[in-house]
């Protein structure tokens, strides 16, 4: 083989070819591939993170539900207790009221009885006085009785 222009022509072609492939294919494409693998790695990491978050959220969810359940049962318990108390209290108040009412009515009754008794006494007294007056009016003797009345007045 002779050293000819063909050889140098081919060498030049080769150099240009390599340079072109490097500049327009290799570099952008390897960069894109790297970007892609980074993206995929990021995506996988994000997915894993998301999974973990879901896991955490599930745990939080269940604890919250449990909390809410226990709170609700507490509230129901409290309410039951309170209602019992209220009922008890109402019962007590009612009893008290009833006994008060009973007492006052008994008192009133007694008063009325007393008043009636009083009235009765008065009426009896009035009646007896009237009877006595009528009896006396027929039998009274001014002289005799004046003497007695005077004696009563004077004795004081």
């Amino acid at each position: 083989m002779n050293v000819t222009a063909t050889l140098f022509g081919q060498m030049l072609t080769f150099v240009i070819f390599v340079w072109f492939i490097k500049a327009y294919l290799w570099e952008p494409l390897t960069k894109a591939m790297e970007d892609r693998s980074n993206k995929i790695a990021d995506g996988l990491a994000a997915a894993e993170q998301g999974q973990q978050k879901i896991e955490q959220a599930k745990i939080e969810f269940t604890t919250r539900i449990d909390e809410a359940k226990s709170k609700a049962s507490n509230i129901i318990g409290d309410a039951e207790q309170k209602s019992k108390l209220i009922v008890e209290e109402a019962r007590n108040i009612a009893k008290e009221e009833a006994s008060k009412i009973a007492k006052s009515s008994a008192q009133q009754l007694e008063q009325e009885i007393n008043a009636a008794k009083e009235q009765l006494k008065e009426d009896v007294a009035n009646l007896s006085i009237e009877c006595a007056e009528r009896v006396l009016a027929q039998e009274i003797d001014k002289k005799k009785h004046n003497k007695i009345i005077e004696e009563v007045i004077n004795s004081d």
Binding site: L7, G9, Q10, I16, F17, I21, K22, L25, L29
Partner: protein, 258 residues
Amino acid sequence: MTQGPATDNPVQYISHHLQPLQVGSGFWQINVDTIFFSVLIASIVMFISYRVGKTIQVGAPSGMQNVLETLIDFVNDLVKEAFPKPNKIVGPLGLTIFLWVFLMNAMDLVPVDLLPKAADMIGIHYLKVVPTTDPHTTFAMSLMIFLLCIYYNIKIKGGLGYFKSFLVHPFGIWLAPINFILTMVEELAKPLSLALRLFGNMFTGELVFLLIALLPWYIIPLPGSLWAIFHILVITLQAFIFMVLTIMYVSLASEESH
């Protein structure tokens, strides 16, 4: 060309087919067919590469980008195995060599008479369609790689260090003259063997195709197709070997002195 059946004059047929289309003489002798086909192939590859490079899809690649990405990955794995430190040139270099050599070799699979006959009809009487059967092509590549190796040797070891490696390797400083001759032969054998291996393989491959073409037409299909199928392997293998050896040589050249 006015010619009887090719089998009438096998020697003339073969030598005619192996004669490149030449212009000029002496240093300015130019093998037009070699340059035309190699530049044509390079241009097609560059055009496709340019288009793919301009419309890169980072997300989900498709079509040609997929093919090229697979190739890049393949070359990059080889480079990463050979190079401890990242190297910006050897990857694209290897890829270019593989693509170019493979496609130039693949011209071998075009029936041997098709393009020369077609050229004959438009008045071009000699045509060699496989650029790698021209030693100019293979030596052009191997010499550029050789220069790159020298550049890396000097860059990494320094001029003196590079010279010293000729003297002390492989027998130590006391046998410096022998070392020098041995290392020199070793270094020169690299580009020579690189170029001659590819040239030899492709040249003989083409020669066998020509010999098969000389057989009677009713015998041609069997050996012709067998050889073509076998040649698919050969052209891929030769392109691969050329690329791997290039990566090896450059990695050896850019090693720290040992």
